[in-house]
């Protein structure tokens, strides 16, 4: 499994990049999800295997960079439906070379590809990511983003 400080080239498209806001809205995104959590605009088919990214740039100071992914926590909803963050090479989480984004690959256990929960409007799967920066002094941010998983 890659380490929390691995860097690389982020290839997630803009539609698969959650851009975090400086001041997170207090509006409800979904039941049981932190208020204002950012939702990836592109939904995810349970049989997909593609990268998604989180852009922390707005939260960072000038010249500040993410140096470590401390934790990635899949929700109970994801665990129930076989949704996971892939940690197998070359799909493990990385920090982009500029230190502003984190990239994750999601994968769904193929035993769950036909879950009825993924039909129609699908399910919202929260994922929390905690990163540390090399600021002076160092900072830590944890944000929850929401992956929409449905049959496409």
């Amino acid at each position: 499994m890659p380490g929390g400080g691995d860097t690389g080239t982020v290839i997630a498209t803009p539609a698969r990049t959650a851009v975090l806001a400086i001041a997170q809205p207090a509006t409800s995104v979904a039941s049981g999800v932190p208020l204002g959590a950012t939702v990836w605009s592109q939904p995810f088919d349970p049989a997909d295997h593609v990268p998604f990214a989180i852009d922390f740039a707005a939260l960072l100071d000038e010249g500040e960079a993410i140096v470590e992914i401390e934790a990635i926590t899949m929700s109970a909803a994801g665990a129930a439906l076989g949704v996971a963050v892939d940690d197998a090479a070359p799909y493990g989480p990385i920090i982009d070379t500029a230190g502003k984004k984190v990239q994750l690959w999601f994968v769904v256990d193929d035993a769950h590809w036909s879950e009825t929960a993924f039909s129609a409007s699908g399910v919202q799967i929260p994922v929390a990511v905690r990163v540390a920066t090399a600021g002076t002094p160092p900072k830590r941010f944890e944000r929850t983003c929401v992956l929409m998983v449905r049959q496409l």
Binding site: M1, S31, A76, L81, P93, A117, V123
Partner: protein, 72 residues
């Protein structure tokens, strides 16, 4: 670094009997027994251990989440 949660045996009388998703003190399940309303039941058995459920909510797609505490 990555915690993908776990799946565990969960029995909620009249609501669910099967494998639930668990992350920390939260669990998620899709009801597969229909004799009781998912939001109304407070007792359950998780991995053979009695637990108390609170905050059950329907999060869409038929999925319910709840917090649990082990009953001492």
């Amino acid at each position: 670094m990555i915690d993908n949660g776990r799946r565990a045996a969960l029995v909620i009388d009249g609501v669910f009997d099967g494998q639930a998703g668990v992350q920390g003190a939260q669990l998620a399940f899709i009801p597969n027994r229909l004799t009781k309303r998912a939001g109304a039941v407070r007792g359950a058995v998780l991995d053979g251990v009695p637990v108390f459920l609170s905050g059950q909510r329907d999060t869409g797609g038929g999925l319910w989440t709840a917090h649990y505490e082990v009953i001492e």
